[in-house]
């Protein structure tokens, strides 16, 4: 019972309290705390505010569709066909997952700035046209930038579902005379449709919750989305209450979509996907396999190769606009960050410290809860699981506002402390940690622990000697799944950092105000390099496919 109380207290503190505080604040007068609907009237009483909501919906829909176009064919090709170079494509998809969307956005500003972007310059040189054809500063531009960052979600969902579909039904269709196209579109893809839509929904939710990329692209493109509008409520005078009211639709949409996703994935009609598959044979694509590889490479070029190429060029350039030339090469941007900037060393250290600490905290908590839930140690254990998963439906900016409202002021007065950031990150990534821990635990039969206990060992001894060693690998994988997104987390950090607790993402955001892309790229490159190094190390420990398990 004591354990249960501790766990529920931790979850109330991390999840329930900030969210209740947020909902409450949306109905409160700023100074007196009296109940009112005025915040809602103000938040929705202006046309630009309403337009921002529509823009967010347009962005989310566009991103989901485009991410589907990118992710589904690649997932199918890797899972079901004899397309060559699968390992490389998988690596690139992982790369797209690791690159923070705001870095991708900077890469695309360098590529598709209307006059100076590399692609536009190439176009102008090739055709003699007076100006370029691409404009990153537009809704279409933003959709592409976000879609290339979020298609890995669609890929992961679709790919893992496809891996479970056996060839038997395809064979049945084939025997009845269906062609390959007909089988793929009439049998295989419909079988994984729920998973596909699940991936699309996650992309949609990512897109509408994102803050960094829209701040870089939507402002020059002259439109707002919900997250940038929320940021504006934090201008002087800080209107937390109005922001809370304005955050409600984002929360509502997310809850709704999540419920939809659950009901789709939970549907039992698709028996083929519910168990371990039978035999699976790769479809021979013949000459088409090269076309398929071409498509996959094109997607990887848009999402990883091109943006990273121009980011690296900028990181080592005196002025990126001067192009690839020897006399334009310099290490000054790195020197500036490491030695001349008074904040960067701290920020780099903080980033990895907070991400690491949050990953440990999220996994410790979620493992304890998963254990309690899985072994049914306490009544109402499912309530714990639900609370654990709840942050999934809270966009980062909204979570940060909740944390700010609940824990920044006294009595806790955590504003500017490392604790508030670690706690917020822990909450934000708790669902990932829980999903991974629960999946790991489900795979272990309780009999082994029972053996320990029959021989006189306590529960803790059983956990230490049996569970921990068995779970080591999947926990390391889970740790990485939290650690990587935590190193780049911007939206929940932006309202919580103080001058001593700055992280790289926030520093990048501040530097981006001046558009100093050379220094930005250098700092971004260091963030990526460190993240990749840690991920590579973990690959060796847990194997390459850790990001494909769970969810």
């Amino acid at each position: 019972m004591a354990l249960w109380l501790i766990l529920i207290a931790a979850l109330v503190f991390l999840v329930a309290s900030p969210m209740l505080r947020l909902v409450l604040a949306s109905f409160q007068e700023p100074d007196s705390g009296r109940l009112t609907l005025a915040n809602y009237a103000q938040a929705y009483g202006r046309m630009p505010h309403l337009r921002a909501i529509l823009n967010s919906l347009e962005l989310g829909t566009g991103v989901a569709l485009l991410a589907g176009m990118f992710g589904v064919p690649i997932a199918w090709a890797i899972s079901r066909t004899d397309m060559p170079a699968k390992g490389f494509i998988r690596l690139m998809v992982f790369g797209a997952f690791v690159i923070p969307p705001y870095l991708g956005a900077i890469g695309w500003i360098l590529l598709a700035g209307p006059n100076a972007g590399w692609l536009n310059k190439v176009w102008m040189a090739a055709t003699g046209a007076g100006h370029g054809i691409l404009n990153v500063y537009s809704m279409a531009g933003l959709i592409v930038v976000v879609a290339v960052a979020s298609f890995p979600y669609v890929f992961v969902f679709t790919n893992s579902a496809l891996d479970l579909v056996s060839s038997e039904m395809e064979d049945a269709a084939s025997i009845l005379g269906a062609g390959r196209m007909r089988i793929t579109f009439g049998v295989t893809l419909p079988l994984v449709l729920p998973a596909m839509i699940g991936g699309l929904i996650v992309s949609f939710l990512e897109a509408i919750a994102l803050f960094g990329a829209p701040a870089l692209i939507a402002l020059p493109a002259r439109f707002h989305v919900v997250s940038t509008q929320l940021w504006q409520f934090f201008e002087y005078p800080v209107r937390v209450e109005e922001a809370a009211a304005y955050a409600m639709p984002l929360l509502a949409i997310t809850v709704l979509m999540f419920a939809l996703q659950r009901s789709l994935l939970g549907r039992r009609g698709y028996v083929a996907v519910s168990g371990k598959g039978g035999e699976r044979r790769m479809i021979r694509l013949g000459g088409w396999r090269w076309a398929m590889l071409g498509y996959a490479l094109a997607v990887c070029t848009l999402s990883v190769l091109l943006p990273m190429l121009v980011l690296l060029q900028a990181a080592f350039a005196k002025a990126w606009g001067r192009g690839f030339a020897l006399d334009n090469l310099t290490l000054a941007n790195f020197r500036y960050i490491l030695f001349e900037q008074t904040q960067a060393q701290h920020a780099i250290l903080n980033t990895f410290l907070y991400a690491g600490a949050s990953a440990f905290a999220a996994i410790a908590l979620s493992l304890a809860i998963a254990y309690v839930v899985n072994r049914k140690l306490v009544p109402w254990s499912n309530a714990l699981a639900l609370l654990c998963m709840a942050p999934f439906v809270i966009p980062g900016v909204v979570l940060a506002i909740g944390f700010y409202a609940a824990y920044a002021p006294p009595p806790l007065a955590l504003y500017g402390s490392a604790a508030i950031i670690i706690l917020a990150f822990t909450t934000r990534f708790l669902p990932i940690a829980y999903t991974a821990s629960a999946a790991g635990l489900r795979s272990i039969n309780p009999e082994m622990e029972e053996a320990v206990r029959n021989l006189g060992g306590g529960r803790l001894a059983a956990i230490r000697t049996v569970l921990a060693p068995l779970l080591k690998k999947s926990l390391a994988g889970a740790w990485l799944l939290v650690f990587i997104p935590a190193t780049r987390e911007l939206s929940s950090a932006i309202f919580l950092v103080g001058p001593h607790t700055r992280v790289i993402s926030v520093m990048l955001f501040d530097l981006s105000e001046e558009g100093n892309f050379e220094v930005l790229s250098a700092l971004g490159a260091m963030l990526l390099l460190a993240t990749i190094a840690i991920a590579a190390l973990a690959f060796r420990v847990v194997g390459r496919d850790f990001m494909l398990r769970g969810s």
């Binding site: 630009p48 700035g113 209307p114 006059n115 100076a116 100006h131 500063y137 939507a218 402002l219 020059p220 002259r222 439109f223 707002h224 504006q232 934090f234 201008e235 002087y236 005078p237 800080v238 937390v240 005196k318 002025a319 990126w320 606009g321 020197r335 500036y336 030695f339 001349e340 900037q341 008074t342 904040q343 060393q345 701290h346 700010y404 920044a408 002021p409 006294p410 007065a413 504003y415 500017g416 309202f495 103080g498 001058p499 001593h500 700055r502 501040d510 530097l511 981006s512 105000e513 001046e514 558009g515 100093n516 892309f517 220094v519």
Partner: protein
């Protein structure tokens, strides 16, 4: 201070551990020998500040490079004090300060924004600490006595003119005055900052609204300018070749960039270059009050003015002159709004801007 000496210190900083380098710089830098000519007050503050160890400075007066150079110079003058320099636009800095006030957890020691209205507001709410620096009496007359009660002081001045990319535009073809920016031939060619972020841009908007009314901005919007956040973003846009003209051209940042070899030059408009006078103040409840006071002294010192001049901003001190050939405020016709006009007008022009430009 000569350029050579500055470069050598920078090199030292860049090599090896910053701490060790700072120690060496402290020995090598001849100005460390001036410890003996510190005034009694300065020595007292230095001793007390050394116990506090550091200070946090929210800074919007310049680009990040100049801000960090000032911070490093302060560290070199007063070891082992550390300066945490957080450079953002004025409204973002004030947003963070407002968050800290609301949460009751003051993180910043010295606030330097470019919107004088911030200080009028903070003073009214008794959120500024009163401290009259010794050096406040040693600056040029035009920078003195902005607040008779001694809660904030002008610590920086710079100009906004029209910048252009010299590789793509001849001087003869560039606009000669502000109204020239509304000429339709500059459609899709102008870069601007945003008054909702940059205090420089906000002040510029106020000044031009006073000169030409809001119609000027409606006409300007017709030219579809690229709108960034910081005023310094316009320099990036010119360097990249994304735009030809910086409608809000920050002289300091642009000339520093030109010095590095970028194809940039300024036009000082015939209808007046906008002069920005930007204050600093110590926050009430600051965690490092003595370091903050010492830092205020520093911002008004000849050393700081030298750094400002090196980065093509104005010198506050009569004994520090800009290098020959560099245009400073006394060489051109400058215009600027009064502190009162800024305090009242800033929130209003930000609203108007959002209505006209959409963001």
């Amino acid at each position: 201070m000569t350029c050579v000496r500055k470069a050598s210190r920078r090199e030292l900083l860049s090599r090896g551990g910053a701490l060790a380098a700072l120690g060496i710089a402290g020995v090598l830098d001849p100005r460390r020998a001036r410890a003996h000519d510190m005034s009694a007050r300065e020595q007292e503050l230095y001793a007390a500040a050394s116990k506090e160890g550091e200070l946090t400075w929210y800074m919007s007066h310049s680009d990040d490079v100049t801000a960090q150079a000032l911070g490093r110079n302060f560290e070199a003058l007063y070891p082992p004090l550390k300066a945490n320099v957080v450079r953002t636009t004025a409204q973002v800095a004030f947003q963070r300060v407002s968050q800290e006030i609301k949460a009751g957890a003051m993180q910043v020691d010295v606030l330097s924004t470019t919107d004088i209205g911030h200080y009028v507001y903070l003073k009214e709410k008794a959120l500024l600490d009163k401290y009259v620096p010794e050096n406040a009496g040693k600056v040029l007359d035009i920078y003195r006595n902005y607040d008779p009660d001694g809660t904030y002081f002008v610590t920086s001045a710079g100009m906004i003119a029209i910048g252009y990319n010299t590789a793509k535009l001849r001087e003869a073809d560039a606009p000669k005055n502000w109204t020239g920016l509304t000429d339709p031939k500059w459609k899709d060619q102008i870069a601007l900052g945003h008054p909702g972020f940059s205090g420089y841009v906000g002040t510029w908007v106020l000044t031009l609204r006073k000169l030409y009314g809001w119609q000027f901005f409606e006409a300007l919007a017709g030219n579809n300018p690229q709108i960034g956040r910081s005023i310094n973003d316009t320099v990036t846009m010119l360097n990249a070749g994304e735009r030809l003209i910086a409608g809000t051209g920050p002289v300091g940042t642009a000339m520093s960039s030109a010095q590095k070899g970028n194809p940039l030059a300024m036009i000082y408009p015939t209808d007046g270059t906008v002069l920005i006078i930007a204050p600093s103040g110590i926050m009430k409840g600051a965690k490092h009050p003595n370091a903050a006071r010492l830092f205020m002294e520093y911002l008004l010192s000849a050393e700081a003015s030298q750094i400002w001049v090196d980065h093509f901003n104005e010198s506050l001190r009569p004994e520090v002159a800009p290098p020959p050939g560099v245009t400073s405020a006394k060489d051109v016709r400058t215009i600027r709004p009064t502190a009162d006009e800024i305090t009242k007008g800033m929130p209003e022009v930000i609203r108007q801007w959002r209505d006209t430009f959409g963001v």
